[in-house]
């Protein structure tokens, strides 16, 4: 009888965290919807979507400028922010699950850098493609090249840093530094080859920004990002199993090799496309998963979905800050994220000093 009472306590505690995670999911979704509405108001030009709606309903002629600002500037930018934020946060969770380590962030370990190299190559050398092929690929060329770059870097990283299912954190981080240095060098060379227009694109892109979002860009990169965001939750049970170690995961019936291949592809797709359209926006992939694990636990069934929501929220908030803080000019969002994320990351390290010895 005693055992029975105790064991129901156990199940309650387990479902408690699950319940909390579900409530957090709802809360995040609601917050995200509100924020989306709000972010359409904020910007250099004082156009309000409400005024636009009122005009529409009243059957008045719609101010063309207002329509352009909302429909062709703010809306694609919002869509891009949602997708990029969710992609980066979800990739963080998947990478951390794959490497079984909470520090494996695509930005920190050079995956974003690898994707960036792909993007730079596409921007600079894209013009050399036969024009028919170039035209056919259009906006999709950069995301696809970034995907390939990201994929190659995750593979390289995994090969270097992981032996028999055990990841050496030091090796992983050092390999990330090597990858980033290599990418920096190659980009440096490519910058000599670039013409003026390409150079402007590169500089802008490198700072990490959602400005210049167009529907064309969004549509070209969205499929890859959606593959990552929607596909990742399907790996939740597998990543939970992998947390107990590669051998144990296999003993429990998981096809570990397949799981790892899929995880690598999803990360490459999401990070590649996100980097291609937004440049290097850092820290989302480490801040978001960390906050969620602290509050609702590491169960990937909730973590992956909540990370997508919170990642989108953080990016949209950062983008609003970027737009208003030096108005009428605007900061690249990469800078805003670094200002938020840098100290946060240091705080994580302070809290868990032993993290590198893992």
């Amino acid at each position: 009888m005693v055992a029975l009472a105790d064991t129901t306590a156990a199940s309650r505690a387990m479902t408690d965290r699950g319940q909390l995670a579900r409530w957090v999911m709802l809360g995040l979704a609601a917050a995200l919807i509100l924020l989306c509405g709000f972010s359409l108001f904020v910007g250099a030009t004082g156009v309000s979507p409400v005024a636009l709606m009122i005009d529409l309903i009243a059957g008045r002629d719609i101010d063309l400028r207002a329509r352009v600002v909302i429909m062709d500037i703010r809306l694609p930018r919002l869509a891009l922010g949602l997708l990029v934020g969710a992609s980066l946060a979800v990739s963080g969770v998947v990478m951390q699950g794959l490497f079984r380590n909470p520090l494996a962030d695509p930005g920190l370990v050079g995956v974003s850098a690898g994707a960036g190299l792909g993007a730079i190559l596409a921007i600079v050398l894209g013009g050399l493609l036969p024009s028919a092929l170039g035209a056919a690929m259009g906006y999709a060329l950069v995301p696809i090249a970034a995907f390939v770059g990201g994929w190659l870097s995750v593979m390289a990283l995994y090969t270097v840093a992981t032996r028999g299912g055990h990841t050496s954190v030091a090796t992983m981080l050092l390999a990330g530094i090597a990858l980033a240095a290599l990418v920096g060098a190659v980009s440096g060379i490519l910058i000599y080859l670039a013409d003026d227009a390409q150079l402007r694109t590169l500089t802008f892109w490198g700072l990490g920004s959602l400005a210049g979002a167009t529907w064309g860009k969004v549509l070209a990169a969205a499929p890859l990002m959606l593959i990552g965001i929607v596909g990742a939750p399907l790996l939740a049970r597998g990543l939970n199993g992998l947390a107990l170690g590669e051998a144990t995961a296999r003993h429990m019936g998981l096809d570990v090799q397949r799981l790892k291949r899929l995880a690598v592809l999803l990360v490459a797709a999401a990070v590649g496309a996100a980097v291609a359209v937004s440049g290097g926006i850092g820290f989302v992939g480490i801040v978001v998963p960390h906050l969620l694990r602290l509050s609702t636990g590491p169960d990937h069934r909730f973590l992956l979905i909540n990370a997508a929501l919170l990642g989108a929220i953080i990016l949209i908030v950062a983008d609003m800050i970027a737009r208003v803080i030096v108005a009428p000019a605007e900061l690249p969002i990469g800078i805003v994220m670094a200002i938020i994320g840098g100290p946060f990351f240091l705080w994580i390290l302070l809290r868990r000093r032993g993290i590198l010895e893992m």
């Binding site: 064991t7 505690a13 479902t15 992998l242 019936g253 694990r293």
Partner: protein, 258 residues
Amino acid sequence: MLKAQDLTVLLGGREILRGVDFAAKPGEITAIVGPNGSGKTTLLRALTGDVGFSGDARIEGLDVARAKPWELAARRSVLSQFTGVAFPFTVAEIVHIGQSAGVRGAGSELTERALARVGLSGFGPRPYHDLSGGEQQRTQLARALAQVWDPVGGDGPNWLILDEPVASLDIAHQLEVMTLARDFARAGGGVVAVMHDLNLTAMFAQSVALLALGEIVTQGPVDDVFTDQNLSRAYACSLRVNTVPPAATYILPHAARA
């Protein structure tokens, strides 16, 4: 039936196991004993398909080298010697992962019963990383038990494969865990366990394989294997097998060597 024939395992260019024949019957605890580094863990890792080997290994007719992970998982679960857990999971979550990653549908009720079975009632909400070594080990055992909860499934016996299941446990929990294994076997399941404590082995196991330097010295019923001569040879020290009234076998180190 679990049966391995002529197993040879090469690791790092060395033959760790050489031509090992091993068999275990459902309904029994089959212990694997032998000195440190004799290849006990390696034999288990071959039986669970974790290392490549030449030879043949089958669990209830399933070819270990060829079967899919989920086919094997439906038949046997494994407690490894060392299991690290990444991320701050709770005890209940870990047991639950064991059920849900594999084949069976997960129920929190089974999680609770498995935890109660290893003496961890009420530990469900505790963070795994805060537990003592022995408690962590019992959590992992509950996880393994929950994976193949029924000793006999619809298509035959299930198996528990345990690497030193009582290594860091106090004496009461050693007995609790060994009793759990015995109950599983008595209900028709199969248990293969690497053991260090020869007395505990003599108390609980029906069959023993004695391993030394990567080869089987002898395998058979406990009383046949546990002789002064066999043990002294395998462990390279003088051991004497005795019985206390009423007829329980025990082993004491016979003499410290000068």
